[in-house]
Structures are given as structure tokens and as C-alpha cells.
């Protein structure tokens, strides 16, 4: 479990995170959503320690990460895996070397055991026959999956995914979402996903934190979001007519009625 308490972060005179608190449980996908510039990435970087918050605390399973010594932080970081927006694979290394890198650095396993583990996680993310390829030879979706394999190769307790679907087509995005969801449940990981992909919100959002201009605007899950009356959230989530229709269809399925001005016939067309 990761707990964020009253996190505040400023850059110069501009405060980008205002007293945000949240509890993110293990075994579920915790989503941070919001428009570009709402502070999602800064919040995530504060959580993993890439930024030091001005105020507030981040607790990993009750341990105060913010106040830890650099050595203790290093120990916690060994339990963290992170999937970056641009994949962040090492250009000069092959797929196999990329995934093996954390094992090389933090284990004393024999090469055969490391290779076995690498192949296991690559198979888990559906990457086959690409061990000797370089990142430049991979598609965007494959890069994300290799990066996910590298993030989980040490069996992390916490997985952070920064915009895992950015630059991917909807079908590949669904594959990545499903993988993240399955891995989260399979290994009981506390997963934090930073996204503005609505499919992800609806598919994997066990817990959703909506950020608006650096503030926590709303929190709930992917069922509650349908019925939320928060205007800013609704404007963000259901920005297009298509998504508004989808929301109403979902409400209809759940409750049998649509509580707004639209008539039923229109939504069923």
C-alpha cells in the first residue's frame, strides 16, 4: 500500500501540487488522471522520489519514504518498478540485456538463471523471438511491453506506469492495460498508473484520483465515475459526444434510467 499525505510541490513561485492525499491499495490499479499540466506526473515523481515534495509525506507500507536516508530509499527503490512514458529502454542494449539489467545489478544469480527469468517475463508480456533486437528495431507497443518486463523482472511490490498508452493505437493500448491489470492481480502489486486514456479509466480503474490544476478534485472507482456529478470531472472524462453517449449507455445498463435531458431513443441509435 502507498499512502500520500498532504503532498505539496512548487517550482519557483508556481505551486503545481496542492496538499494532495490519497491511499493506493495493493492488488489494484490506482489511476491518477487529469488534463495535461494538472500535476499527475509531478505527483508520481514525488511518489517515487525523483522530486522532493515541499511538504507532505509518502508512505510505502507504512514506512515514511520522504524522510528516509538515501540508503534506505535505495532499498525501497529496489521494490519499485516503473514504466516510463517513452519506455526509457537503454538504446545501446538489446531487449534481453535491457530486461536482464536489474538482475545483473541486484542479484548474484548465475547467467542461466537470469536468462531463464528474462525469458519468463518476456513471455509474460507476450514478447517472443526479440531477445537480440535493439529498442530502435521495436514498435511502440513492443517497447512498452519490454519496459514493463524490465519493470517487473525483480518482482516489485510497487509498479508505477507513466502514461503507458501514450502514442499507442487503441488495440495495443488495451493489450497494455490488460497486462498491467493481470500483473497487478497476479503478483499483488500496488500499481499506480498516470493516464488520460479513457479506456484505461473504465477498464482498469480500481481507484481513480482526478487531479485538476494541482488539486485533488475527485476520487472513486470506475463504477462511481459514471455517476459522478463533479462537473470538471465529467467535462474531462466525457469530453466528446461519443463518450457522453457511452456514459449514458453504461448508466442505462446499471440503473435502467438516464438522469439527464437526453432521450433514450437517441442514445440507443
Amino acid at each position: 500500500m502507498i499512502e500520500v499525505r498532504n503532498i505539496q510541490k512548487s517550482f519557483g513561485d508556481k505551486t503545481v501540487i496542492h496538499n494532495v492525499s490519497a491511499v493506493m491499495k495493493a492488488g489494484q490499479c490506482n489511476l491518477i488522471i487529469g488534463t495535461s499540466g494538472s500535476g499527475k506526473t509531478v505527483l508520481m515523481k514525488c511518489m517515487v522520489g525523483l522530486f522532493d515534495p515541499d511538504h507532505g509525506e509518502v508512505l510505502y507500507s507504512g514506512q515514511n519514504f520522504t524522510e528516509m536516508s538515501p540508503e534506505a530509499k535505495t532499498e525501497i527503490r529496489k521494490e519499485i518498478g516503473m514504466l516510463f512514458q517513452g519506455s526509457a529502454l537503454f538504446d545501446s542494449q538489446t531487449v534481453e540485456q535491457n530486461v536482464m539489467f536489474p538482475l545483473d545489478m541486484f542479484t548474484k544469480w548465475p547467467h542461466s538463471k537470469k536468462l531463464e527469468r528474462v525469458n519468463e517475463v518476456l513471455a509474460r508480456v507476450n514478447i517472443v523471438d526479440a531477445n537480440k533486437k535493439y529498442p530502435a528495431e521495436l514498435s511502440g507497443g513492443m517497447k512498452k511491453r519490454v519496459a514493463l518486463a524490465r519493470a517487473i523482472v525483480l518482482n516489485p511490490k510497487y509498479l508505477f506506469c507513466d502514461e503507458p498508452n501514450s502514442g499507442l493505437d487503441p488495440q495495443t493500448s488495451l493489450v497494455i492495460d490488460k497486462l498491467i491489470q493481470e500483473i497487478t492481480k497476479e503478483f499483488n502489486i500496488t500499481t499506480v498508473v498516470n493516464t488520460h486514456d479513457m479506456n484505461s479509466v473504465m477498464e482498469i480503474g480500481n481507484y481513480i484520483l482526478y487531479m485538476y490544476q494541482g488539486h485533488k478534485e475527485w476520487e472513486g472507482n470506475n463504477r462511481e465515475i459514471i455517476f459522478s456529478k463533479n462537473q470538471r470531472l465529467n467535462e474531462f472524462i466525457f469530453a466528446s459526444e461519443f463518450l457522453k453517449d457511452a456514459k449514458e449507455m453504461r448508466m442505462l445498463e446499471e440503473t435502467g434510467r438516464i438522469p439527464n435531458h437526453r432521450n433514450l431513443d437517441d442514445t440507443q441509435k
Binding site: V48, G49, L50, K73, T74, E75, I76, R77, K78, I80, G81, M82, F84, Q85, G86, A88, L89, F90, D91, F101, P102, D104, M105, F106, F160
Partner: protein, 245 residues
């Protein structure tokens, strides 16, 4: 104010490099990789420059020594001392600042911009120690070695030019090389080599490590790294000459 802030961050980067390695074997592997990149990677250009510098020195010294009272072997002495004292350490290192410095700055800059450095930090790796320290240590090991090669090739290039242009014979050139040789000059050249090696590896590493932005900024930081390295090499060349000669 930026210059003081930069100096402060540079010193913090140097301080941050010294921590217990997460895995000594991986650090050694990275060090050896950097030795290959810096040493072998720059050997070709160093060899070409040194041979031609030595050859040109011989031709120009012979052109200026027109007095029949000065023995011809003096040409070899002048070429030897010029190459050892100045051309091999300073000129070679200025070229290396361009070759190695831009490579280090752009490599680290690309890693920063594409979040590879963040990825290493998240894994719990001290990136200053893992990425910067091996480059500086490899520079300190390989650049003085390249300076020694440059000395030898420069003097040899001078000999080849002297013989092929019929200025002096090989025997006279060799005789001149042995006359008035001071081992201290080699020590001085190596002192400069170590100083310049630190500049060539650490300054570009600083500019690359702290780059912000995208491809344009990587290019800018790489250029800035080379320019600052060259200025510092020339400045420290003057200081060392004033102190040690």
C-alpha cells in the same frame, strides 16, 4: 549568477559520484566499456593528428633555422620539445575535447531526455556513480596514454618528414633527439595530460547529465561542453606552465 550555480552543481555532481557501488562487477564492466570507447575510439584521430603535427613542425622549424652556425640536429631537438611540451598534450586534448567531450555530453544528454537516467534512479542506482565516475576514471587512464602515443607518433612524423623532404638524415635526427633531453618535460606533459583528462571527461558529463529539454538542447549542451572544455584546457595549460616550468 548562473556560473556560480553551475560550479555548485558541478561540485555536487563530483561529490555525488563517491558512494558504495551497488554491484562492483557492473561498475567494472562500465569502466572497461568507457576505456574502450575513449581509448580505442579516439586512437585513430590522435594518430593522424600527431604524425602531421610532428611533420609540419619539422618542416617549419627547418624553414626558420637558416643560420649555418646552428647544427641541423637542433631541428630534431626543437621538434621533440615542442611536441612533448605542447603539441602532444594540449593540441591532442583540444581535439579529444571535441571527439570525446561531445560524445559524453550527447550520450548522457540523450539518456536524461529519454528518461533512461530516471529509470536507473528508480531502480536504486546512483547514476552519478554509475554513469559519470567510470567516464572520468576511463578518461584519467586513457587520455594520458593517448598523450604518450601522440608524443611518440609526433616525433616519428617529424623524422619521416625530415627524411622525405631531404632536410636532415635519420641519423642526425636521432642524434638530435638524444641531445639535451629532459625527462622532466615528459612529467610536465603527463601532468597536463591528467589535468586535461579530468576536464575533458567531467565538464561534458556535467553538461550532459543536467540537460533539460529535447534534441535541440542536447546539441546545445554538447557544443557548450566542448567550448567550455577547450577554454578550461587553455587556461589550465597557462597556469600549469607558469607553475611548473
Amino acid at each position: 549568477m548562473t556560473i556560480f550555480s553551475d560550479i555548485g552543481r558541478y561540485l555536487l555532481m563530483i561529490k555525488g559520484m563517491f558512494s558504495r557501488p551497488e554491484n562492483g562487477r557492473m561498475y567494472w564492466k562500465e569502466f572497461m566499456h568507457q576505456c574502450t570507447e575513449i581509448g580505442i575510439g579516439a586512437l585513430g584521430i590522435v594518430a593522424i593528428i600527431s604524425v602531421f603535427i610532428g611533420a609540419v613542425s619539422t618542416l617549419q622549424t627547418a624553414y626558420q633555422l637558416i643560420s649555418p652556425l646552428i647544427p641541423l640536429s637542433t631541428i630534431a631537438q626543437i621538434v621533440r620539445d615542442t611536441v612533448i611540451l605542447e603539441f602532444a598534450p594540449t593540441l591532442t586534448c583540444i581535439v579529444l575535447a571535441g571527439v570525446i567531450g561531445s560524445k559524453i555530453a550527447s550520450e548522457l544528454g540523450n539518456m536524461r531526455v529519454s528518461e533512461q537516467i530516471d529509470a536507473l534512479e528508480i531502480m536504486g542506482i546512483n547514476t552519478k556513480a554509475y554513469l559519470v565516475l567510470p567516464k572520468i576514471l576511463a578518461g584519467l587512464l586513457m587520455i594520458p596514454f593517448l598523450v604518450i602515443i601522440a608524443m611518440a607518433l609526433g616525433i616519428w612524423g617529424g623524422r619521416v618528414a625530415a627524411i622525405s623532404a631531404n632536410i636532415i638524415s635519420g641519423n642526425i635526427y636521432d642524434k638530435g633527439l638524444h641531445e639535451g633531453f629532459k625527462a622532466y618535460n615528459v612529467f610536465f606533459a603527463l601532468a597536463k595530460g591528467y589535468t586535461f583528462a579530468f576536464i575533458i571527461s567531467s565538464i561534458p558529463a556535467f553538461y550532459g547529465y543536467y540537460v533539460k529539454g529535447g534534441a535541440l538542447e542536447i546539441g546545445r549542451s554538447s557544443t557548450k561542453a566542448v567550448v567550455v572544455s577547450c577554454i578550461l584546457i587553455l587556461f589550465s595549460d597557462y597556469i600549469l606552465s607558469a607553475l611548473l616550468l
